[in-house]
Every structure is written in C-alpha cells, then in structure tokens.
C-alpha cells in the first residue's frame, strides 16, 4: 500500500478520536480564518486583535487549564492545536501561547481565588488579553539578574523597571510582570491602565510580523497588596510558566515546518526543469526525504512529551529536548523548503519564507537554542555551564 505523504508513519493512529477531531477543527478554523489574511497582516506588520474573541469562542485560550471558563483539554490536544495554529502562522500560536501558558497559567497555578475569578473567565473568552514581562533590555537569557524591582509602601507595592520584547505588550489588558523584591523574584498582576505603565511597540521586525512585540515601561506603578501572585517566589515561578509555553512550542514549530514541507513537496512535483519535475532529481528527493523524516521524528517526540505531561511526569529538562530539537529541525526544514522553491521561495506569495523568518524568533524566545543545549548538558553531567 502507498503511504500517505501527509502522515507517512501513521502517527494519526496514536491519537484518540477526540484528539483528531480537535486537531481537524483547529486546522479548519486556521484555513478559513488565518490563511486568507496572513500575507497581508505579515506584510503590514499587524496582528488582528479582534480575532482574540474568536480564538476564545473556539476554546483555544487556556485550553489546557481547567475551571474558570477554561476548556480542560489534555496536553496532547493542546499541542495539536498549537501545531495547527503555527501551520497558519507563528504569530497566532505565539498569541495563544502567551495568553494561555504565560498569562493565564501563572494566575491559574499561583494566583489567589480572587485573581482567578477576576481574570481567567475573561481571558479564556478573549475579552481580556494578557502578556508576560520577564525579559529586560539587559537581561535575556539570564533573567534572574533582572533590574525591575518592587518595594513596599505601606500595604501597597511600587514597581519600577523596563521589560523588553514582550509579546502582546501593546494590546494587553493585563501584564504579568516579574520583579525583584526583598523576598526574591515575584510575579505581579499589572493592569495596563495603571498610572505609570506604558507599552511601546517594537517596529521594523523581519520576523513574527503578525504579532505585537513591545517594550513595557513601569515608572513607579502603585499596586495593591492583592496584585502579587501569592503562590510562588523565585525563578521557579517563571520557570513553571516557561515550561508550559515551551511545551506548546515543541508542537507549534512542527506546524510551521509542515506547512513548508507540504508547500515544497507540491512545488517539486509541478516545477519542471530539464523536462522533468524538480522532485524527480535525486538532490531534491534527498531534501524532501530528510524533511519528512525530521518532521515525523519531531512529531513522535512531541507526542511522547505530551503523554508524559498528561501523566503528570514531564520534567522541564525533557521539554528542553523537545524545544531544542523541534525548533532547530523546523528551521532547517523551512530553509530546505525555501531552496526547493528557488526564487519563488523568497516571496510572500508562498508561506515558506514567512515561516522561516518566524522560526528565527521561535529559536530565540523561550530559551535560546544554546540555553536549551546547556540545560540538557547540565541534566546529563550535573555540571552547570551557562553561568
């Protein structure tokens, strides 16, 4: 029997009916709502903010969380949704990751009952947008040394500092801001209309253009005692969020890669040189075969990590294996696809260079390729090389 180039190893079999249905519905939604507009949004450098409510209605925002208006889906379903969204554009997956894993998750996991009730239902519905402020201009891979600080003033907190490269910053209603306090690093819920808070969007990006990236400036922002996340102190709070979001990226990157692979496969069968389709040349076949093999390996890795997560056994270092491998390979696949398309590969007429450029951000954010390498290195040797 011939194999299906879209699922050569029959990975589909490993999913439940419900997981397949969730994946198919997200794919259908992306086909109808992202693909027709994405070239324009990417070219103009805008994220269509009004689509947040549609993402909410579909059930994608905080879908792996339970209660408070969240869907309560399993981790594999969440991963599949990330994959399909990123097959549309990394900007959409980034939006959903930041909303669900970086903004809703800390409230869900470390927040007070009041914080959960106030924010989670609205965020799940896409009526309130969140962002996650960890990185600073001078502290990227090394956020523990951040300068943003919060000090007590009576029962209030006064927060000051600058955050950089913050996804959704300029469109957010709520910023989860991490700051140094006398007791260690803590997370604060900062409504973006608080006096002293400002967000400045970063322009002239050549990657993740259909996504808002901003600088957050906090100039003595006064917050009540209830604004602090009560449940966690120290870097383990931020790490718990990052592990959630990285898990989504493990799957998402494969979506971008799949879109590139499918485009290149189709192109290789129709583009004719020397009287035959370029897909008939051995060098092209080697590229296609390598792309497909990596795609399938990545998928099996993602699925394995998803199942560990659903069993409650997934460790942050294991997520690093996934992020390290899948984003690196996705970027390679995108670049190979770009080469198969020849000159056509450099235009926005095809999705490939858009995905390729997006993946440069994905390679860097949520822990760079190097940092994940060193996390794996530390896990193997017990010796920490990155500080």
């Amino acid at each position: 029997m011939p194999i299906d180039p879209r699922d050569p190893l029959d990975v589909d079999r490993l999913l439940s009916d419900e997981q397949r249905q969730i994946r198919d519905l997200v794919r259908e939604w992306v086909d109808a709502n992202v693909l027709p507009g994405i070239e324009g949004w990417f070219e103009r450098g805008e994220f269509p903010k009004e689509i947040a409510k549609e993402l909410g209605a579909l059930g994608l925002l905080g879908m792996h969380l339970s209660g408070y208006g969240c869907l309560g889906a399993d981790a594999v379903s969440y991963g599949l949704a990330c994959l399909e969204l990123e097959a549309g554009d990394s900007g959409f997956r980034s939006f959903v990751s930041v909303q669900g894993s970086l903004s809703m998750f800390p409230i869900w996991k470390h927040g007070s009952e009041e914080q959960k009730k106030e924010w989670l239902p609205r965020m799940a519905a896409g009526e309130a947008i969140g962002c996650f402020g960890l990185t600073e201009p001078d502290f990227g891979s090394d956020p523990a040394n951040m300068r943003t600080s919060a000090r007590r003033d009576g029962s209030d907190w006064i927060v000051s500092g600058t955050k950089m490269w913050i996804t959704n910053g300029g469109i957010a209603d709520l910023a989860i801001v991490w700051a140094q306090t006398g007791e260690g690093i803590r997370g604060f819920l900062v409504p973006t209309d608080s006096p002293g808070f400002a967000a400045n969007d970063i322009h002239r990006k050549l990657s993740l253009r259909a996504s808002v990236t901003s600088e957050l400036v906090l100039d003595d922002v006064r917050l009540p005692q209830e604004a602090v996340l009560p449940g966690v102190t120290g870097m383990k709070g931020t790490l718990s969020c990052l592990t959630e979001a990285r898990f989504g990226i493990v799957w998402g990157a494969l979506g971008a890669a799949r879109a590139c692979f499918e485009c290149a496969l189709e192109y290789s069968k129709t583009r004719v040189q020397w009287g035959k389709p370029i897909g008939a040349f051995q060098l092209t076949q080697r590229k296609l075969a390598a792309m497909s093999v990596e795609l399938e390996k990545g998928l099996l890795l993602a699925l394995h990590l998803g199942r560990l997560k659903d069993e409650g056994r997934l460790q942050p270092q294991q997520v690093s294996y996934g992020k390290l491998n899948n984003v690196r390979e996705a970027l390679k696949i995108a670049r190979e696809a770009r080469s198969i398309l020849g000159a056509s590969g450099i235009t926005l007429e095809y999705p490939v260079i858009r995905h390729m450029n997006n993946l440069e951000s994905v390679l860097t954010y949520e822990g760079t390729n190097e940092i994940h390498t060193l996390i794996v290195g530390e896990a193997l040797t017990g010796l920490r090389a990155y500080e």
């Binding site: 249905q21 309560g72 889906a73 949704a81």
Partner: protein, 254 residues
C-alpha cells in the same frame, strides 16, 4: 421544545466521487455533514436555545456517517441517533424515508427540521415523505423559522421574495441556505460530545424488516454525459444573421 434534525452524511465534497460496479457511490473515508443540513442544525439550535428545549439529530448511513453526526453534536446538538444496517445498503428515497420516520416516531417531538435537498443525492423528496409518514404538516424552503404558542411561522422562499406560512406543531420544515449561517463548532462541543447520548440502531430496532426497505428502484446503467465539442464562432459578415437564425431554428427556439 423537542427539535429533531434529519442530517445526512455525504462523501467529502473536496474528494472525487466514484461509482462501484453496482452503480452505487463508494463511501469510503470519513463522511462529512451535508453543508446544507448545517443550516437546519443551526435553526434547530436557535429555536431550542430560545425555548429551553433540546435538539436531537437522526441520521441513516454507513459507519462512516459517525463523523457527520459528531459534527452536529460539536455544534451543540444534545443527542443523536444513527441507523445503520447491511440491509440498508443502496436504499432508495422511499426506504430512507420509512427508516427516518420510524426513528423519529420513537420519541415525542415538536418539530422536525431537514435540508431542502442533499448535496449528493438531491432528490429533494425525503422530508415531505417523512412528514407524510409521520402524519404532520410540512413547510418547505424556509429562510426563517419561528415558533410561538405551538405554531411554526415560516418564511418560505419564493422566486419573488417570500411567503409567510404557518402551521401547528408538530410539523416538519425544510431549511434553505439563506437561513442563518451555521455556527462553527467549538472545542468544548467536541469534548462534551463524549458524554452525550448516541444511539446506534439497526433495522430490527425500528420494527422494520429488510423486505420493507428493499429498493423499489435499481440503477441499471450509468452513462457519462457526451463531451461537448468546441463551440462555433460566427464572424460578423454577410450571412451571420441567417446562420444564427438557422441555429435557433435547429434548436427549435424559433
């Protein structure tokens, strides 16, 4: 209010339809919910939401009709009945109507909704036959259905505009694609479908025998339509009008 929707699973319209040696459509791969029937599901959900009622979908079809049924459930329908039986393979419109009527009759209902005609078979006869068998009035081509005090008020699409038709419940109404746009299913709909009742019935469960649903018609041959030759281009010239008149006469138009 209890609303029943007749939903048909059809072969994926984006695929290529193939006929088997018995001239029946080969139905492999997942079926899809007939897009026309999604309008009926939407109308049913809207009515049920307004009245606090429930929506049940009923479908006859092979095992692969399950995905069409799941879609209706994911849109928000509350329960489903799927009738499948080897004896129903190749069932004609009359047999299908008998089966659907028998299935609908099993529980109390106020309103039955259906599409106007299916996308793959499009005889457009089924709903009225079902209504007749159920002994309820049928109102067709609805672009809008409202129910007040046990009366269905239907805007029936016509060439000139629409008629307003009223009939007492229980009744059957067919819904057109000019009715309200079907809602997109949700992930929650998919996940809650798990806990919704899905009844699987065979012919015997409906008290019907294979003889009662044996097709009264059989397709004996299928011919490809003749390929059209290239059209004739008549250049402006001396005999152009005469040539056109000849052609029109040939076509018995003049």
């Amino acid at each position: 209010m209890q609303v029943v929707v007749l939903v048909k699973s059809i072969p994926d319209p984006s695929g290529e339809a193939k006929l088997g040696p018995d001239f029946l459509v080969i139905r492999e791969g997942d079926g899809v919910l007939d897009p026309g029937d999604e309008y009926a599901v939407e109308a049913a959900l809207t009515l049920a939401e307004a009245s606090g009622g429930e929506v049940a979908v009923v479908s006859m079809g092979p095992a692969n009709a399950a995905s069409a049924i799941r879609r209706a459930l994911a849109m928000g329908a509350h329960r489903a009945t799927h009738i499948s039986d080897e004896a129903l393979r190749g069932a004609d419109a009359l047999a299908t109507a008998k089966v659907l009527a028998a299935a609908v009759r099993r529980s109390p209902f106020d309103l039955v909704l259906a599409g106007v005609e299916s996308t793959d078979g499009y005889t457009g006869t089924l709903p009225m036959t079902v209504a007749e068998m159920l002994g309820v009035p049928s109102a067709t081509f609805a672009r809008k259905v409202e129910v007040t005090a046990g009366v269905a008020r239907v805007e029936r699409q016509t060439e000139a505009g629409y008629d307003v038709v009223e009939c007492a419940l229980p009744a059957l109404v067919t819904v057109t694609a000019s009715a309200a746009e079907p809602r997109f299913p949700t992930l929650k709909g998919i996940m809650s479908a798990r806990s919704k009742p899905l009844e699987q019935l065979a012919l015997a469960d409906l008290g019907l025998s294979p003889a009662e649903v044996a097709p009264t018609q059989r397709v004996v041959a299928v011919e490809a339509t003749a390929e059209k030759g290239p059209g004739e281009v008549i250049q402006a010239g001396d005999d152009d009008a005469a040539r056109i008149a000849d052609l029109l006469a040939e076509a018995k138009v003049i």
